[in-house]
Symmetry: C2
Subunit: 194 residues, 2 copies
Amino acid sequence: MSRWAPNTRARLESAALDLFVQNGYEETTVAQITDRAGVNRATFFRHFADKREVLFGGEDLLAELFADGVRAAPPDSTLIDCLHAALAAAGVAMTPQQRIMAAQRVLVVAANTEVQERGLLKHTRTARSISAALRTRGMDELTARLGAEVGMLAFTIALERWMAADNDAPFRAHAAAALNDLRKRTAALDPQRS
Amino acid sequence: MSRWAPNTRARLESAALDLFVQNGYEETTVAQITDRAGVNRATFFRHFADKREVLFGGEDLLAELFADGVRAAPPDSTLIDCLHAALAAAGVAMTPQQRIMAAQRVLVVAANTEVQERGLLKHTRTARSISAALRTRGMDELTARLGAEVGMLAFTIALERWMAADNDAPFRAHAAAALNDLRKRTAALDPQRS
């Protein structure tokens, strides 16, 4: 257990992931998580509705950061500019500790369909948060939904590359590169545009 | 119960949706579904792993149809051509009976998070099936993943419009229009392309 963990919530997340990876998700109880984190049961449920939420609570923060990034982009920003702003804003949450937890999360999710399903629900809600923020900028519904899907795909690809990287380049660098790589490929969706 | 239902599987789906909408998803038992469809319990489980699957079993067929459409597209097809081919192939499954069931499914999914999660898992697997088919055509991984997301978004939008339409235009027409609408909006993702 990390005695120096910055806050209770992160300590609970980290303890849970350690146990899930070590003993399996199904086999781990909330009591074991709170024991390891050194907090009581009530504290756990103040932060998370259930055991599954401890894996994906960070997605709610991400959804807010993405939306904040979109809303704070300069007035003349294009769709792609807004997506870059969203990913840059989300980068704040992508700390080295998160990088370790992200790799643990992949292992847990791969081993459990129920957990995977909850992750997808969070993913969908995050996409909706991005498209809603794009709509507040006056973009039409289809543009906003297309932007949200491409933004989420860029985020997913950046996360994969960040976890696999053998260097400590920050998440922001991976995110900007992934979105740029996708931008170049949009030509294949509209080859006749001149 | 539709005595003229073309086959057992569709009869089970239709019976289940009627009951889910009428009495609630949680409240409906497999026994009630089989009673209404006029088949026995073993038959149900030959077609569906559990109660949730009866809602989304059609997604597995869709995933196959999409992938078949991509693979059968002419050799010189661009990404957007392949997506049009995938949606056209899926159109075969989108019968008037499916249109009624799709509207019922929306009601059931909206009322139940657990069900929604299963739907998202199926959605993700369908997207993977499209991207895998695009990869077999020699497209690089990012192009295939971008294509799969845009194809799935076009499908979702087409489904919404098909359900909301006050005419009997076939799904294929909505699908082609939705994909074309998204194509036009890709310019916002790469505004500097000349």
